[in-house]
């Protein structure tokens, strides 16, 4: 069902990379990578975390200098020495995280990068803005402050900026991770329009389904190398299942372990087994009613959030980032006070209790900001395991620290949770993301937990650790004493681990859906702001 690409299928190279190699101390990030990106083609680049995708983007966007290899733009050899050089060559990049200045207007953001000695040139900028708005068919007010736009709109502004100096090559790094299902569809439309206009689009993703839906050509990276390609002709003839089969084989070789990981990777390809909680009639363990909070500039606060979670239940919280999820988690954990509303745990009002008081009652919170909030990264692993227990008689006698007990405890946890660390005394920052996540699990999942709040449990983890974290949640999710709240912007993940899924929208719970076949559509409608029937 794919429309025919405009450019000649194997000609008209917009950007060609030849034998690009980049070595960082101890890692070969790109190993003789050769790729050709053609005009009028959507080219998906797939690969695991650490396969070398970000380095490749860094190289084409002028942020990283390759050690060897050559680059050609429209047939001419070039050196991309800086981000501005890349933009001038017509190579634009839209990064995974929004890179706009929230305190400037849309037009002002697009003016960044003009020659510095100029006064601002509104007329010329407006003209180009109108041109690109027409091309992308988007409606964003040029004078709106970027901080007030939705993430989808911000992404459209970023695409405009990437195409500002010429519509040659557009790199999109994981562009769908922040979008609603509707936003993903809109992005698809924009991508196709640009493709038909003759832009070479490079679409970096780890979601196989999206790649096979959108791409005209798929290349797979593994351990810094290009390990395979699916050509347009093949894509057109193969069934979606067959494509996924091929790509998975390329990504993992014919590894024995691949089967497990595949389920995590493929996600959408087949309807997952639904997880249903049996005890629908039990009294809820956690009750949040009419939760309101006060937000800072640019934050989404809670605006009347209601939530009930039963014991033994895993409640997923879906929604596009920035719809009040952070405040919800903090309100549950006791880090943020509500301006109105009530919250109770096992029938007991806990709104007046702070973090420490609630922790004693069994409330646990695993934050997604693991280094910025969850830990003190320059302190040792052992200290980080006890920072929520400072002063407890287990490790302190009359206020005096028992380092022996703290270190014993840490060694114990390192064993129990198979944390890979040279010793319990090393600074936490030296550990890998997966191991830091294990430290947080070890710290929170001790004693008699009654309510566990987990924010983005697999954010930034590689596939194996993602699988492990999800399995862990599923395993403890059956525990009859505990209620679990999982907040994530990956719908697949929530469908994998939850019994019910609540959708957050503008600071409230827009609706709650039982996790059974068809849940995905209902959630998509809720996320897009369509009221549940």
């Amino acid at each position: 069902m794919k429309p025919e690409p405009v450019g000649a299928p194997d000609g008209d190279a917009a950007l060609a990379l030849h034998d690009i190699t980049k070595r960082f101390p101890g890692v070969l990030a790109n190993d003789r990578v050769s790729l050709v990106f053609r005009r009028g083609e959507i080219h998906a680049l797939l690969g695991e975390n650490g396969a070398g995708k970000s380095t490749l983007i860094g190289i084409v966007s002028g942020m990283v200098r390759p050690d060897s290899g050559s680059i050609e733009v429209a047939g001419r050899p070039v050196r991309i020495a800086s981000p501005s050089a890349a933009l001038r060559l017509g190579i634009g990049t839209v990064y995974q995280h929004v890179l706009l200045v929230p305190s400037l207007s849309v037009l002002e953001n697009l003016m960044l990068g003009n020659p510095w000695w100029r006064t601002i040139d509104r007329a010329a900028t407006s003209e180009r803005f109108a041109e690109l708005a027409e091309l992308l068919s988007v409606r964003v007010s040029p004078d709106a402050l970027v901080g007030r736009l939705s993430l989808g709109e911000q992404q459209q502004v970023e695409i405009m900026r990437a195409l500002w100096h010429g519509e040659l090559v557009l790199f999109l790094d994981e562009p769908t991770s922040m979008l609603t299902p509707q936003g993903v569809d809109d992005l698809g439309v924009v991508m196709r329009r640009l493709r038909d206009h003759g832009v070479a689009i490079v679409f970096i993703t780890h979601k196989l389904k999206e790649a096979s839906d959108l791409a005209d050509r798929i290349s797979v990276l593994r351990q810094g190398r290009v390990v395979g390609e699916v050509r347009p002709a093949e894509l057109k003839t193969m069934s979606p299942d067959a494509i996924i089969e091929r790509v998975v084989a390329m990504m993992f070789g014919h590894d024995a372990k691949a089967g497990d990981l595949r389920a995590t990777l493929v996600g959408d390809a087949s309807e997952p087994q639904s997880r249903q909680h049996a005890d629908a009639g039990v009294e809820p363990l956690l009750v949040l009613r009419g939760g309101h909070t006060a937000g800072e500039r640019g934050e989404c606060a809670l605006d009347g959030a209601d939530l009930e979670v039963r014991p033994g239940e895993v409640m997923g919280i879906a929604g596009v980032d920035g719809n009040g999820q952070k405040h919800l988690a903090e309100v549950l954990a006791g880090q943020r006070t509500m301006t109105a509303g009530s919250i109770s745990l096992a029938g007991r009002e806990i709104g007046h209790l702070g973090v420490a008081g609630r922790r004693r009652l069994g409330v646990r919170y695993i934050t997604d900001e693991r280094l910025g909030e969850g830990t003190a990264p320059r302190h040792s692993l052992a200290i980080n395991l006890v920072i929520k227990e400072i002063g407890s008689p287990q490790f302190w006698k009359g206020g005096i620290t028992s380092w022996r007990r703290i270190h014993d405890h840490a060694r114990n946890m390192i064993r129990t949770y198979s944390i890979v660390a040279p010793s319990e005394r090393v600074p936490l920052a030296g550990l890998s993301g997966g191991n830091i996540q294990k430290v947080l699990l070890a710290r929170e999942w001790t004693g008699d937990a009654r309510l566990l709040v987990v924010a983005k449990p697999t954010y930034g983890l590689d596939l194996q650790n993602t699988r492990r974290a999800r399995d862990w949640i599923k395993r403890i999710g059956g525990n009859a004493d505990t209620a679990i709240v999982v907040i994530s912007n990956e719908l697949e993940e929530l469908i994998d681990v939850s019994h019910r899924i609540a959708v957050m929208e503008r600071g409230r719970i827009a609706g709650i859906v039982k996790n059974r076949p068809g849940a995905r559509t209902a959630i998509g409608r809720l996320m897009a702001g369509v009221e549940a029937a």
Binding site: M63, L99, V101, L112, G113, N114, W116, W117, I120, R161
Partner: protein, 311 residues
């Protein structure tokens, strides 16, 4: 107490407010530039002192105020260069380096003063003024605003120039982006390092000029530690002004007025210990902080070195 409404008192208060306010204005505008770009320049006091000494030395040697101003600018910028290299290029702790720079400048200028001038205590000759015909004769404010050294007019003009730069130029956009979202500026192809480097130099330039003003137009002599915390007050002014040069102007003259109050009171025969008056500006900052603390806004990236790719 009708003396307080007399022309002598008010004219003297305005005159003194301008004299004491101009260095705060210059340094505050300079600091505003680097704060906007995300560098908290704690070394401003040192830059002002360096400017004061160099300005005085050059003006004394050449008998030209202009030479003094130029020397002040150069000295301020040389000190700022150290700050820019260490903090912007190498990403070292801005507070540690700022304190070190202030300490070092205090020591070096006091030392040089001791070697060169401690026996003679030279003073500069009378200040050259540009009298604006007509306006200078206005009672109360004429002598304070329209019969002054050229640098004072320049400082006023600079305030409005800065407003224009911040609102109407690419440089203004770049500065704001460097302080609010440096990674976004980088992605747009503008070097964060260069932007911040230049803005620290601008701070040094204006801080040095403010210092030179104090030692030439202001006092006509150099004394060790003569800036007496003016650099730190300028930092506060820039912080409270929230990116608007007009607030720096307003704040600088409010502070100037409180500093000038002692002299003005003496003119009309009211004697209050100078220490009481000296407390006024600092007490005012504290009051302002207490009143407006929750509204103060600083760039999110202020004080943080920018490293590409680090999150």
């Amino acid at each position: 107490m009708d003396g307080l409404l007399s022309e002598a008192f008010i004219a003297s208060l305005f005159f003194g407010a301008v004299t004491a306010g101009v260095p705060l204005l210059l340094a505050g505008l300079g600091e505003q530039v680097s704060e906007k770009s995300g560098v908290l320049n704690i070394g401003l006091e040192g830059m002002m002192l360096a400017g004061a000494f160099a300005g005085f030395a050059a003006a004394y040697a050449t008998d030209s105020f202009l030479a003094g101003f130029c020397a002040g600018v150069l000295a301020g910028m040389s000190v700022a260069l150290i700050m820019a290299v260490l903090c912007v290029v190498l990403g070292m702790n801005q507070i540690v380096v700022g304190i070190a720079i202030t300490l070092g400048a205090e020591g070096v200028t006091a030392l040089l003063h001791h070697v060169l001038y401690s026996r003679s205590y030279p003073r500069l000759s009378r200040v050259e003024t540009w009298t604006i015909p007509g306006l200078a004769d206005i009672p109360y404010i004429g002598p304070a605003f329209f019969d002054r050294n050229a640098l004072i007019y320049l400082a006023f003009a600079l305030t409005f120039f800065m407003i224009w730069v911040f609102r109407r130029t690419q440089v203004g956009l770049n500065l704001q982006a460097a302080g609010d979202a440096p990674a976004a500026l980088d992605a747009a192809g503008v070097s964060v390092t260069v932007t911040r480097f230049v803005s620290v130099l601008v701070t040094g330039c204006l801080g040095g000029l403010g210092g030179a003003y104090m030692a030439t137009v202001g006092g006509g002599l150099f004394l060790p530690f003569m800036t007496g915390g003016a650099g730190f007050i300028a930092i506060v002014l820039a912080m409270l002004a929230r990116g608007n040069p007009l607030w720096v102007l307003f704040g600088a003259f409010l502070f100037g007025a409180s500093l000038a109050l002692t002299t003005a009171l003496q003119v009309v025969g009211v004697n209050i210990p100078t220490d009481v008056i000296q407390m006024l500006p600092f007490a005012m900052v504290i009051v302002v902080l207490l009143l407006f603390a929750r509204h103060s806004y600083l760039p999110p990236a202020l004080g943080l070195p920018y490293q590409r790719g680090a999150r």
